[in-house]
């Protein structure tokens, strides 16, 4: 098959399982076990994307999650997945892969002309240039967004099922390389429950990318056996394909498991990702280290790669990343990669080593193999257009050392521990001068090991891993003494080779002797160059966080995994500071991009939020009700009959209540029983009015204020007996009010002997309202005496209604004779149906919240949250008479603040539009006179507005500055279509101002 760069032997791929996928329409051949990146390399596809800003050609840099370039678009339609990293995405047969940032094609990208303009697009370009003129910003944004193009969103609902799961364990091990495997074994042996998560589909980490042997067998084979042993233990959960992407306080770890479609999956099998929310007692951080790139001109051309990545593609995927290589190194690790490449048949033309005298075992081996080793030398510039063609070498003093043809440049700038999770959780770091990198300080339950702790080499990783696993288990309460039989047996510490001494020599900013050749990229994803950093420092942005924000360094979807460690050294050298004084930009979750669907998990569609319904829900639905959402509740808005709009239906329902009788399901109201010897005293403190003297059996309307004097909630409270009150709250305020009352009771007034119990769900509430409600209730059957003297307005009676134990309250939110009948919710439907049946001779109609709103507005009753918005006092809505002078209550002092007594505060008034048919839009601003002047001083706004069927005209409630003192004044309401609606203010009561209809 056409895989010119596939090596004939080796690799962790299954040559018996070939596959093909398309990349920008071109067929790519690979094998099971390939990543997209390794298959592309094996097919000789070096150019895989264009850069974000300058649209420069880019290739594969790394073999893991740290790659800044290899973001591709997977699939199309509803399954489209943007921002997938080719270096960690397993290749699968039939995949459709597209490059990003390229138009019309990867090879001929129009926007790459931007690269020619690079000198005019410096750091901070966006801040400096595109902010002005401001009105052009929408245009800039449109063009920029198209040019930027970080992939395309899916075009429809995601057909995959996502999952979310909570888990606990004693030790979470992050990474299944040698350190992680050793740690998991050590911890499991001590009896700890272990979760071992690794982002790769196979365990082994660095062992997959080398020819090293562990315990006398190939490293990958040892890792596979160790992981299988662990997985067989009931105490251990091994999760491949799982990235720990966030670490938070108290060791909370979030990880995402990628679940792939398997051949032979049954229909309906769950695919898509699963988010794990894990709370381990201890964490072993074995997340490895990332190799640092090095600076030289054009260090972004396809073919420039990390030295460790060349070895990974060679050993793990049997893919040669090039046909002739040059290495540029600061330490001995590159020699191992060079020797392995040469061994595999890829000639190594030269190794440029910045050290004056590289004389270790590996350099000697390289020389013995005939590889040219240049000491005190550097790569000055990479040559080539769409991929590396040659490199220009020179000594550190600037003298040329020739141009060497090659198509692969391996960079070995030393290793930086992957500290992302450690730092996210608030862990501190120290500067390790031997590594020239930050290493984690042991802290907060996180035990670093292996590459993540700065240890290089398999033997050190195994040793540290075993120690970290043991100490993490011990810290979680599992000591060696308690150890049952170890899973898998075998010695705790496998034998492996120690790493050679690195002999690392920092090389951050190329010496001036090399000349200012450009561009030298620090952050490949964000196209941030060395010159950008110089400019940023010159302009005074010196702190690393300022540099980050000004240049966007490290702000790509790769989170600057390669760029940030390099930038720390570069910024330190440019400023003459110690790297520890510069620090690293803050690491933020997520470590790698996470699909939003994975975070939502199962909480989508009907499961995204509870829809709460009353016991009569099925009846409402069958009756054709239209619903509205009130918080999580669904409430019937109106019950349109054939041919009726919601508006028509609500009007009909209003008239039914005013003329005959209506029935409202108000079960959603909050209901709190206030119980205890001090219940009256408690209510006096939280309500503006008095309660102790309310006789049992009577009801009273109450108003509750916040400490700021603003209206918090309102509702009727009934005194059930000597020591018990029942308080009604608004539907949406129920939970908030209960929490507010409990807070005062528990934290401020523990001496009050009062218990609060929410009974909202136990009691369904049926509001029977209208002049014929008494007859309806009587017809339904009740043992309560209903005549006016026996059961007057604002009283409560217990008894039976339609055979059901009931509490009946003669309270009204409509201004009509009304009985609010509370019955246990599981018998409510029976009572509801009986009332409707028995009310039929009286013309009963069920009514919804729309009619309820109109009816109460006709009476000028406020709705908390509609007439009030947290800035409205009882004085503003004309309820001063309710405020008790004889006692203290929450918010009382605030009401005497001068600002709350000002005459020009917004106050509740009614509005009548001049044209009775003209309903003013709710929320409309009110002004004294129409004008084109801007800004136009506002007098207030409309809070409620309806057509009143009973009055045959439009009515509205409004908050108007100084409104109470100037009733009858002319105002204008602004309609959205630039019209002005003339209105006149009035007392906020339109219907039955004397309340005669209540007291019948």
């Amino acid at each position: 098959m056409s895989q010119p760069y596939r090596l004939p032997r080796g690799g962790r791929i299954d040559r018996g399982a070939p596959l093909q996928f398309t990349f920008d329409g071109r067929t790519i051949h690979g094998y099971q076990g390939d990543t997209l990146a390794s298959a592309l390399l094996a097919n000789g596809a070096a150019l895989i994307g264009r850069s974000f800003k300058y649209h420069r050609p880019r290739g594969i840099v790394a073999a893991g999650a740290e790659d800044p370039n290899a973001f591709v678009q997977l699939g199309r339609g509803a399954r489209a997945a943007p921002n997938r990293l080719a270096t960690v995405t397993p290749a699968a047969h039939g995949m459709q892969v597209r490059s990003v940032n390229a138009w019309p094609s990867l090879d001929y990208d129009v926007m790459s002309l931007l690269g020619l303009a690079a000198p005019f697009i410096p750091a901070g370009f966006y801040y400096k240039t595109l902010m002005w003129p401001r009105r052009l910003w929408p245009l800039y944004e449109r063009v920029l967004r198209r040019a930027a193009g970080l992939g395309r969103a899916p075009s429809g609902p995601d057909p995959d099922r996502y999952d979310y799961v909570h888990a606990r364990c004693d030790v979470l091990v992050v990474g299944a390389g040698p350190a992680g495997l050793a740690a998991a074994r050590a911890a499991a042996r001590r009896g700890a429950r272990v979760i071992l998560a690794d982002e790769q589909p196979q365990p082994g980490g660095s062992l997959l990318a080398s020819a090293e042997r562990v315990d006398g067998v190939p490293g990958h084979a040892w890792a596979a056996a160790a992981a299988a042993d662990l997985a067989a233990s009931p105490r251990v959960t091994v999760l491949p394909d799982t990235t720990v992407f966030g670490l938070y306080q108290s060791n909370l770890a979030l990880m995402v498991e990628r679940r792939r479609e398997q051949p032979g999956d049954a229909a309906g099998t769950e695919r898509g990702a699963r988010t794990w929310r894990v709370t381990p007692r201890r964490i072993v951080l074995a997340s490895g280290a990332h190799e640092r790139p090095l600076l030289c001109a054009n260090n972004d051309l396809p073919g420039v790669m990390l030295a460790s990545a060349t070895a990974a593609y060679l050993h793990r995927y049997a893919a040669a990343p090039g046909s002739r290589a040059v290495f540029f190194t600061t330490n001995d690790t590159a020699y191992r990669a060079a020797l392995d490449l040469a061994e595999a048949g890829v000639p190594v033309a030269a190794i440029a080593d910045v050290r004056a005298d590289p004389d270790g075992r590996l350099p000697a081996e390289a020389r013995a193999r005939g590889i040219q080793v240049l000491a005190a030398a550097a790569v000055r510039r990479v040559l080539g257009r769409r991929r590396v063609a040659a490199v220009e070498l020179c000594s550190l003093d600037g003298s040329p050392r020739g141009v060497v043809e090659c198509d692969l440049l391996g960079l070995a700038g030393g290793f930086a521990p992957a500290l992302h999770l450690h730092a996210q959780a608030g862990g501190r770091t120290d500067w390790d001068p031997a590594l020239a990198a930050f290493v984690p300080r042991r802290s907060n339950g996180v035990h670093p090991a292996g590459g993540a702790a700065g240890a290089l080499g398999t033997a050190a990783a195994l040793r540290q891993g075993a120690q970290a696993g043991a100490s993490a288990a011990a810290a979680a309460g599992f000591t060696a003494d308690a150890a049952p039989a170890p899973p898998g047996g075998g010695p705790e510490l496998p034998s492996a080779q120690d790493a050679p001494d690195l002999g690392f020599q920092p090389y951050w900013v190329p010496p001036n002797a090399l000349g200012r050749v450009k561009p030298q990229f620090v952050d490949l994803h964000e196209d941030v160059t060395l010159d950008d950093l110089r400019l940023t420092l010159r302009e005074g942005f010196e702190a690393v966080e300022h540099v980050k924000r000004y240049t966007t360094l490290g702000m790509g979807p790769d989170q600057g995994k390669l760029a940030n460690p390099l930038a720390t050294g570069v910024l330190a050298e440019l400023q003459g500071l110690h790297p520890a004084a510069v620090g690293a930009p803050r690491y933020r979750p997520a470590y790698t991009p996470v699909a939003l669907g994975a975070l939502a998990g199962r909480s989508v569609g009907a499961l995204s939020d509870p829809l709460r319904a009353t016991p009569m829900q099925a009846w409402h639905q069958a009756a054709g009700a239209r619903f509205e959402s009130v918080g999580q509740w669904r409430r019937p808005l109106a019950y349109p009959q054939r041919g009726e709009t919601v508006h028509d239906a609500a009007a009909r329902e209003c008239l039914a209540v005013r003329r005959r009788v209506g029935l409202l399901d108000s079960s959603t109201l909050g209901k709190i029983e206030v119980n205890g010897p001090d219940a009256g005293e408690f209510l006096e403190r939280v309500y503006v009015n008095t309660w102790k003297r309310l006789p049992p059996g009577r009801c009273r309307y109450g108003l509750m204020l916040g400490e700021d004097g603003m209206i918090l909630d309102d509702g009727v409270t009934a005194r059930l007996d000597e020591r018990r009150y029942l308080t009604f709250t608004s539907t949406s305020g129920a939970a908030e009010v209960l929490a507010w009352l409990e807070r005062w009771l528990q934290t401020e007034w523990p001496e009050l002997r009062v218990y609060l119990t929410s009974v909202s769900e136990h009691w369904a509430c049926l509001a029977l309202a209208g002049p014929r409600s008494r007859e309806t209730l009587a017809a339904a059957g009740t043992d309560i005496a209903l005549d006016r003297q026996a059961f007057p307005h604002m009283t409560f009676r217990a008894g039976r209604v339609a055979g059901v134990r009931a509490r009946v309250f003669r309270i009204s939110f409509s201004g009509e004779l009304s009985y609010e009948i509370n019955v246990p919710a599981d018998q409510a439907l029976h009572v509801w149906e009986t009332l409707l049946e028995c009310g039929r001779p009286f013309g009963i109609a069920p009514y919804g919240t729309e009619a309820m709103h109109v009816l109460r507005a006709e009476k000028g009753y406020v709705i908390v949250g509609q007439e009030t918005d947290g800035s409205v006092t009882p004085l503003d809505v004309g309820l001063r008479r309710m405020l008790s002078r004889r006692k203290d209550f929450l918010g009382k002092r605030s009401l005497s603040r001068p600002a709350l007594l000002r005459a020009d505060r917004k106050q509740l008034v009614g509005l009548r539009s001049d044209d009775p048919a003209q309903v003013v839009p709710e929320g409309a601003p009110l002004v004294d006179a129409p004008s084109r002047r801007r800004p136009l001083p506002m007098r207030g706004h409309v809070t409620s507005s309806y057509h009143s069927p009973a009055l045959g005209r439009a009515i509205a409630l409004a908050l108007v500055s100084g409104g109470r003192a100037s009733l009858g004044e002319r105002l204008y309401a602004a309609a959205p279509d630039d019209r002005w609606i003339p209105v006149r203010s009035c007392l906020p009561i339109f219907y039955d101002p004397t309340g005669a209809r209540l007291h019948v």
Binding site: D163, R168, L607, P610, E761, H762, D826
Partner: protein, 225 residues
């Protein structure tokens, strides 16, 4: 009532509603020994004072214990005020007392016992500062039982419900996805009762069915009350 019978036992993981049980909320001062004694006398049950635990008049864990010892016995009332004629029936009907807070318990009892329990407890606690409130119509119980029960709950409940941290007799108020529930470990099968408010019950049940689909969860029919 505690055991839905052999029809659903030992056959995978099942979800069944235990409808119409009596739910009574009890508030009293835990430092008031007299109040605790009055409840003990009235119900034959010591209210659990250890946070997040359950008290039951009979062993929670093993049906075998019940089989061996015969039907559960209630304290015979020696030295107890027995003047109230309703004393024994409500006492016998109580299944569990769940600790909800330092001064709050939920009594779960056989269907139809609400009025009687409220009368008996109010009489027993009079004139102390205590609150006894019937909430039976406001909540239901979803019983999740079987080997995969913990795995199903783990999709939406952040608590550690493993046998070490949450053994039979443990209970806790928590969230199941977006619904507030009282989760109680009943036995080691394991069996969990989820006490959920009525308006949240359809959501909780739908959510459990969805989460259980990958675990072979079956719906069982409630036994006639």
């Amino acid at each position: 009532m505690d055991d839905p019978g052999p029809s659903t036992a030992d056959r995978g993981t099942t979800l069944v509603e235990r409808p119409f049980l009596t739910h009574v909320d009890l508030r009293l001062d835990p430092d008031d020994r007299g109040a605790l004694a009055a409840v003990r006398t009235a119900l034959g049950l010591r209210l659990p004072l250890e946070p997040n635990t359950t008290a039951s008049p009979r062993p929670l864990t093993s049906p075998a214990v019940i089989a061996a010892n015969g039907p559960p016995r209630i304290e015979d009332g020696a030295g107890i005020q027995t003047s109230h004629p309703d004393l024994r029936p409500p006492a016998a009907s109580v299944l569990h007392a769940f600790w909800l807070g330092p001064d709050e318990w939920l009594l779960l009892a056989e269907p139809g016992a609400g009025g009687m329990l409220v009368r008996v407890l109010r009489a027993a606690l009079h004139p102390r500062a205590a609150a006894v409130t019937d909430l039976s119509a406001g909540a239901t119980v979803l019983r999740l039982r079987g080997p995969e029960a913990r795995a199903v709950l783990a999709h939406g409940c952040a608590l550690d419900l493993g046998p070490a941290a949450f053994p039979p007799g443990a209970c806790a108020q928590t969230l199941l996805a977006r619904a507030q529930v009282l989760v109680a470990a009943i036995d080691a099968r394991p069996t969990f009762d989820l006490i959920v408010r009525r308006s949240f019950a359809p959501y909780a049940a739908a959510w459990l069915r969805d989460a259980g689909s990958a675990h072979g969860l079956r719906l069982a029919r409630p036994r006639a009350a």
